[in-house]
């Protein structure tokens, strides 16, 4: 054993005037940072393993605790920052790939914050959503090229559609990466608010079949948990090609998280690693993708829309065009800020492009090619609030996926340590002692509240623009203006600058 050069990242401050030695912090810290010293008769802390998840801070009944960045500093160096130095210490000790959780946290520009929305003044009246009806209903799926009406009725059958009361869905998070209680919370909230959650590549636990009408079931490269009843159980099927946090990379659920229930749901032996390969080994071309899309449609009697999820990468517009032509009904695009339970740090922080540009590029391309009606676009990758939703829809999205925001509603404090399996909030863990910390009744209420709050805000913003249906905002880039953007950025986003 040699000396580790790693030092605590955080400092725990305990106000001894307030601390009553109740040991709640000791009970709650899965990282065993707090301990009660019998000899001293007081609670002490060793911060080395503290991840700043804030569980102790929130649970402390007397608010005696605060966690902040460790005051310990390396010599100032704008190039070799503390993060850069510590990363090397970790790799020098382990010889391994650096792992992390949640989305890209680097200070790249956030383009949502460089777009501003319009509002009506004088010449066209704004609308008060509390007094007048406001429609957020959204249908996802292939729309016909034209409508033929005979005897007052549609002649042809409309392809299968997902009906959303609000253009926000919970994106894919597998059972394994998050706890069953977390999934139950999202499933119940989706049912309550008329939208959908997504199983991720974790299969569908037996307790979740009752939420089938609000479930999108995923088929990914590992094909875990895929069987006929699974495909039939969901309202739609999503083929996962890529994920914004780790484009080009597969998934890896370590064996210690594969307990009895995860093993049953994924249909793999207990305790074995669940490895999703980087590519689908039966997809090497658009034609291969088309084959899988139609296999899934065939298996489900052409009754369910099929979505294809990709990460936003450089040629995303051409790729999306290929996916639309391959027969997908929905394309989900995940930007480089998208979250994850575990990703190699360097991939997460350096691969992919912002969702704002990917969305604008894909929507423009599909319109130019005259095939925009053939697919619905769902975007993901750090939709942080209702304004981001409105801007995404104005840029051309049909709906958005949220996951990080939803988990924050359930209690996530963004410590980025999901991959350790020690989530103190009962979300990214399979430890029964930790899982029970998330009561799905409370979780469902909080997630549903978030959706309802955003719904009110979206209606307010629409009303301000003088629009009474979300359908009238979709792809309406005239409602957006860019601030602090270059000519080229404005051109790709397809929006004018402020004042234009």
């Amino acid at each position: 054993m040699t000396l580790s050069y790693l030092t605590p990242a955080f400092l725990i401050e305990r106000d001894n005037k307030r601390c009553i030695q109740c040991k709640v912090c000791v009970q709650q810290c899965a990282n065993e940072v707090h301990r009660f010293d019998e000899e001293e008769g007081e609670v002490l802390a060793d911060e080395l393993n503290c991840v700043n998840c804030q569980r102790c801070v929130v649970m402390c009944p007397t608010r005696a605790l605060s966690v902040r960045k460790s005051p310990n500093e390396f010599r100032q160096n704008a190039n070799w920052t503390a993060d850069a130095i510590k990363s090397i210490y970790i790799q020098a000790e382990t010889g391994g790939v650096l792992l992390t959780g949640m989305g890209n946290d680097r200070p790249y520009p956030i383009y949502w914050d460089h777009m501003l929305l319009n509002a009506s003044q004088v010449t066209n009246p704004s609308i008060d959503p509390l007094r007048e009806p406001m429609e957020l209903k959204t249908f996802l799926g292939r729309k016909p090229d034209s409508l033929v009406i005979e005897n007052g009725k549609l002649k042809e059958k409309i392809p299968p559609q997902l009906e959303l009361d609000i253009p926000i869905m919970f994106s894919a998070m597998s059972f394994g990466s998050i706890s069953l209680n977390a999934i139950k919370s999202l499933a119940r909230a989706a049912r309550q608010e008329g939208t959908f959650y997504n199983t991720g590549e974790g299969g569908l636990h037996k307790d979740l079949y009752e939420y089938g009408a609000n479930t999108i079931v995923q088929v990914a490269s590992g094909r875990f948990g895929v069987h006929p009843e699974y495909l039939q159980a969901g309202a739609a099927i999503e083929i996962k090609i890529g994920q914004g946090a780790k484009p080009g990379i597969g998934g890896h659920l370590p064996g210690e998280k594969v307990g009895r229930e995860v093993s049953e749901t994924r249909m793999i032996p207990e305790g074995t690693d669940a490895i999703s390969p980087a590519p689908h080994h039966d997809i090497y071309s658009i034609e291969d993708l088309s084959q899988l899309i139609y296999s899934l449609k065939e298996a489900t009697n052409y009754e369910k829309p099929v979505s294809v999820k990709i990460a936003a990468v450089h040629n995303v517009a051409a790729i999306a065009s290929g996916i639309a032509r391959a027969g997908a009904d929905i394309i989900a695009i995940d930007g480089y800020r998208g979250g994850t339970g575990a990703a190699p740090l360097r991939i997460r922080d350096n691969v992919g492009i912002p969702i704002e540009f990917a969305l604008a590029a894909v929507d423009s391309r599909l319109r130019q090619e005259g095939i925009r009606n053939q697919v619905s676009l769902v975007v993901a990758g750090s939709i942080r609030n209702s304004a981001d939703v409105v801007k995404a829809i104005a840029l051309g999205a049909d709906a958005v996926y949220i996951a990080t925001g939803a988990l924050i509603a359930l209690g996530c404090h963004m410590c980025q340590k999901c991959f350790t399996g020690k989530c103190n909030w009962g979300i990214a863990t399979q430890d029964p002692q930790l899982v029970k910390r998330l009561n799905p009744e409370i979780g469902a209420q909080r997630a549903a509240n978030l959706l309802r709050a955003w719904k009110h805000e979206i209606k307010e913003m629409l009303g301000g623009m003088g629009i009474n249906a979300i359908e009238s905002l979709r792809g309406n880039r005239l409602m957006l203006r860019g601030i602090g953007l270059t000519e080229k950025e404005l051109q790709i986003l397809g929006i004018s600058a402020v004042g234009e």
């Binding site: 709640v24 009970q27 009944p61 007397t62 029970k436 009561n439 799905p440």
Partner: protein, 154 residues
């Protein structure tokens, strides 16, 4: 009558119920810090957290219909209120003989030897108007205060 029911599947073993029980039975009902630092003697928690991880739940007096403790009490200190059904121990009359503890089928009565020897037990926070402090402050909805056992199972 309304009782406190525990939902073990949501009990996180944090023992905040005990912290708030102590506070509610101290002279400083709205100040946890003072309740712990200034009460002399500091009241014992009347709610017991049984724990064998991952299983845990908070246990307190069941306020039995036929309460053995009231029958066994040698001084008449332990009484069941005929109207509310709450079983309370009149500590001025209690002599600390522990007979109630011997007969309690739930192990819900504790020995309090900090001042005068008395039996301490849950009184459903009779002094407080709202729900018992443990239920009110449970962070995860693991305690319910209601007439029957419905909704206890998720």
């Amino acid at each position: 009558m309304k009782r406190v029911y525990a939902r073990e599947e949501f009990c996180v073993g944090c023992r905040l119920c005990q912290v708030h029980c102590v506070t509610a039975h101290s002279p400083y009902k709205n100040d946890i810090v003072k309740a712990f630092k200034k009460s002399n003697p500091r009241p014992l928690p009347r709610v017991i957290v049984e724990e064998n991880r991952p299983l845990s739940f908070a246990l307190q007096c069941r306020h039995c219909e036929e309460a053995n403790c009231t029958k066994a009490c040698i001084t008449g200190a332990m009484q069941k209120d005929p109207v509310t059904g709450v079983v309370t121990n009149d500590e001025t009359r209690c002599v600390g003989c522990w007979t109630c503890i011997l007969v309690c089928p739930h192990g819900a009565i504790v020995q309090d030897e900090r001042g005068k020897k008395v039996a301490a037990k849950c009184d459903l926070c009779s002094g407080l108007k709202e729900m018992p402090a443990c239920v009110q402050h449970c962070p995860n909805g693991a305690l319910l205060y209601q007439e029957d056992e419905s909704q206890v199972r998720a």
